[in-house]
Amino acid sequence: MERYDVLIAGAGVTGGMIARELSRYNLSVCLLEKENDVACGATKANSGIIHGGHDPVPGTLKARLNAIGNPMLFEACRQLNVPHRRNESMVCAFGPDEEPAVDRLYQRGLENGIEGLEVITGDMARQLEPALSTQITKALLIKNSGIVCPYSLTIAAVGNAMDNGVTLKRNFEINKIEKTDGLFTVCSANGETVQGEYLINCAGCAADKIAAMAGDGFYTINPRAGEYMLMDKSEGGRVSRTIFQTPGKEGKGILVTPTVHGNLLTGPTAQAVDSGDSTFTSAQQLEKIQRLAAKSVPGVNFRQVITSFSGVRSSVDGGDFIIRMSDKVEKFAHVAAIDSPGLTCCVSIAVYVVDMLAQAGLKLTEKENWNGTREDPLAFSKMDMDQKNKVIAENPAYGKIVCRCETITEGEIMESLTRQPVALDLDGVKRRTRSGMGRCQGGFCSPYIMKLIAQHTGTDMTAVTKNGGSSYIAVHKL
């Protein structure tokens, strides 16, 4: 039976970043993921914001990890070559009723030790962002906040961890955890078993079930779905900063933000749902997004929507992250209820968790040859024409465009199939290369990419899936 020093349940951004942090040390680490790819839960469907840290209640773990996590995440993005941008953000008040909320957030930010906060007038806000509504009377400007591509970040973190020796097991849906002789034995739904001395629970919406399986299920996750609408790049320049609304009757409000890839994103809504799989969208919520986004930025052209999606966040009553060693089960770590600002905190959480494990007895000796950088997966697209021609001369696949909306070449698709963590399905290729993310949403390129996946894996197109499991695309060969 395979035996590791540390097992991590869940390859979202938190699990991935912890794996990378652990990969610095002479440890055997195995990351267990129930889906066919990493970043398949809340990680792939959230706002992608690197929060400044003004929002969490002072004194909470969220406040502390956000404040230190913001610069740590920017640094990790640089090391891992993940698309990110410090684009600043604003929380906007619409009229005198909402203005005190801006002042409260400013005070809260100061208490949290956040620098670069400024309260500005509506006119100043519109000077910075001409597309903002004339109804905005006051705003909090947050200069240290930014945007990042959350699944690129996770793929890079896991890839970097794997380059440094971490093992990734996919389609490993944990259904039993036993602890005997100081060792966790973890079984999957399809009969695989691994053992580990430490077990870290980063299972997102399933964290409460994993905790219960391990013998310390003291909390219940309340899955909360947030729906989003993503607009074509023609709308991407509508605003340069992330535009928040003050919290009000309709929840935390709807944000309008550019993405690092140049699209415009609006959302999220917030509804209680049954489970982490409840990623459906509804007409009412999509209508609400349009109505509330137009309140901040009246010019958003919703005819340019290219997709809508929903991400399910794992929240608990009380609201703070649950990050601690189990009181009941030795060497079992809870890393649960990682909802907003979880993405911003992924690196600070990872460092915090590794410290926590060390205090619990995990022996950390640094590897001599640890390499925390990862080669840029978008390197080809950033080359000039002469460099590209050199690459194409060596490998003609880099000359052949497969996805025309995003200008992705066959060479880049092949890279996504061969570089850790390799893409195994269409969505995996899409998240790594952006093929199929454009306005045609894969209409033209998906059969071609299916063919490349089939050729690469020595199967035919009936074996190719959208996102693993029974998500097959072609049912039979004619």
Binding site: K451, D460, M461, L478
Partner: protein
């Protein structure tokens, strides 16, 4: 017989009515002679050109498009499709190549070149 159909000869789409006995059908509602002929053919021996694909056995993941060289009886469509589904061909194939003879009074021909 008293059957209503929409003429498909041109985009105008006349509403045709065919009435009378088998050898003595009358058509009303047509705006031209072609519509009248279509209506009677459609009621006595409707025919269709069938198009499909056939696997090219000596090329990887390659299909050649085919059609019936002339229209076949409408009621024979399932059998014609069954015949086409049972075929494979070897490249090279040229547009117009006859791939099968005597398929309900027609032939299966290639509609694409495969080198």
């Amino acid at each position: 017989m008293n059957r209503k159909l929409i003429c498909i000869i041109c985009p105008r789409g006349c509403q045709l009515t065919v009435s009378g006995e088998k050898d003595n059908l009358t058509v009303t509602g047509h705006a031209c002679k072609r519509g009248q002929v279509y209506a009677i053919d459609e009621c006595t021996h409707p025919v269709r050109t069938i198009t499909s694909i056939v696997r090219v056995s000596n090329r990887e993941d390659c299909m050649v498009s085919v059609k019936t060289a002339t229209p076949v009886p409408k009621e024979a469509i399932p059998q014609v499709m069954a015949a086409i589904r049972g075929m494979t061909v070897q490249a090279p194939v040229k547009t117009g190549d006859i791939l099968a003879e005597n398929i309900f009074g027609s032939r299966i021909v290639a509609t694409k070149d495969i080198d």
